[in-house]
């Protein structure tokens, strides 16, 4: 008789959620396509002048990526709630925060990582200066996990409500505005050849904090929502 280890439970959550995303890969790609389309439409709307596009490039990409992440947040725990596997997660003797951290990690891997990977392509579409690209990718790599973590807490808080989509957006938006300001701010600073360490380090500090606290908060919120 093997009671099962917490590591095995985390591996099970990671494996199952990745397998699920693979099975629903058409749906899973939606947020990624959304962000690419939004960015691709800007040159058509604003005209092809390189200076104008380069000026707004970093901010546009940031907004598109964050909105795409927001779009996919609602589904984070929804299907688990509807088929009862969320109950099984809560009832498992393993720390719920750790299991949720695995789910959040899968969310980031499948919604944000592809967008960071196509970041250079998006930058090319908007004529982002070459020197700014590493800062953009770095800022996105710090900002998108923050969105997944903060978003997960808000999703856990609103999951008990039937139509929580609007409320979720209202809850998440003010929380990610600072992330947007610092992330896009780092890119703008790079464009003006100013130092970018400060905003990036701020993002990194918040990320470190959220990595520790957000899964705990999400677990507590989920338990309240379920009872």
């Amino acid at each position: 008789m093997k009671p099962g280890t917490t590591a095995a439970a985390c591996a099970a959550v990671l494996g199952r959620d990745l397998a699920l995303v693979w099975r629903r890969r058409g749906d899973a790609l939606n947020p990624v396509l959304f962000a690419i389309i939004v960015v691709a439409l800007f040159p058509f709307a604003l005209g092809p002048e390189t200076e104008v596009l380069a000026r707004i490039a970093a901010g546009t990409i940031f907004v598109a990526v964050l909105l795409a992440g927001l779009l996919s947040l609602d589904g984070l725990f929804r299907s688990d709630l509807e088929d009862g596997s969320l109950e099984q997660l809560v009832l498992s003797p393993h720390p719920l925060a750790l299991l949720l951290a695995c789910k959040i990690a899968v969310h980031w891997l499948t919604t944000a990582l592809p967008l960071i990977a196509v970041g250079p392509l998006l930058a090319l579409l908007l004529h982002l200066p070459d020197g700014v690209l590493p800062v953009l990718v770095g800022a996105l790599a710090l900002a998108t996990p923050l969105l997944s973590l903060i978003g997960a807490v808000c999703v856990a808080l609103t999951i008990g409500m039937r139509r929580s989509g609007m409320l979720l957006t209202l809850l998440v938006l003010p929380l990610i505005v600072p992330v947007l300001i610092f992330g896009a701010g780092a890119c703008n600073a790079a464009q003006l050849a100013l130092p970018t360490a400060a905003p990036l380090l701020w993002l990194a500090a918040w990320l470190a904090l959220a990595l520790v606290l957000a899964p705990l908060a999400a677990a507590a919120a989920l338990k309240i929502s379920l009872t």
Binding site: G4, R16, A19, D83, E87
Partner: protein, 223 residues
């Protein structure tokens, strides 16, 4: 609190003046009962008499309004769960896109594995041989229930809380549930089963607890 200081083996599950109310409206209780290893207890009650809520409270998912649940003599809370309880509710916790086998492997990862059984064997013993790699979406409601039963066979939980395990099952499936329950009781496990009365645990003479739709009324009677 340990009410069984003179008893060397406290009951597997004990409810002490257990009551639950939602928005000040009593759902059930106060209830007092205990469940020893090797016992199968049938909770009977009409629709809306609080059977599902009772199971949720007993599993630790809901906090009782008053009273407490003791699991082997220690208080059960959501913060202190153990591998000893397995809940099979109306929602089976199966992912429709994944195969029966994938779902069971997930359950093993979460709950651990009982000795001497594999996911394949468990599926075969609930009559789903040959359906291992079919997505659960393509299985019927009764077959999905059987996958849920296979999960119970795999995880090393001593206490099973089954919410309407007979629903959606054919005659053969009902016998299967009874067989599985008997084997579980012989191994020293215990189970609480809810039923609205249409089907019943047929083999042996399970104890019956009756929940009444009028709150606060409950009688315990040996069948």
């Amino acid at each position: 609190m340990n009410p069984n200081l003179d008893d060397p083996a406290p009951p597997l599950l004990q409810a002490c003046a257990l009551a639950y109310a939602r928005n000040d409206e009593p759902i059930f209780g106060p209830l007092d009962f205990s469940l020893h290893a090797g016992e199968i207890v049938l909770i009977e009650g009409d629709n809306g008499s609080g059977k599902t809520t009772l199971l949720k409270v007993l599993s630790g998912l809901l906090e009782p309004t008053s009273g407490e649940v003791l699991l082997r003599g220690t208080t059960l809370t959501l913060a202190r769960l153990s591998h000893q309880v397995a809940l099979l509710g109306h929602l089976l916790g199966l992912k429709l896109e994944l195969s029966a086998l994938q779902n069971l492997h997930f359950a093993i990862g979460m709950g651990g594995l009982r000795g001497g059984i594999t996911a394949q064997l468990a599926l075969a013993s609930v009559g789903l041989e040959g359906y291992e790699d079919q997505p659960v979406r393509t299985l019927s409601a009764g077959q999905r229930k059987r996958v849920g039963l296979a999960r119970l066979l795999l995880v090393p939980a001593a206490l099973w809380l089954l919410d309407e395990p007979y629903a959606n099952l054919d005659r053969e499936g009902i016998e299967l549930v009874n067989r599985v329950l008997d084997a579980h009781a012989r191994r020293g496990g215990a189970a609480l089963i809810t039923s609205h009365g249409a089907y019943a645990y047929t083999s042996g003479t399970p104890r019956r607890l009756k929940l009444r739709a009028e709150p606060g009324k409950m009688e315990s009677a040996a069948a």
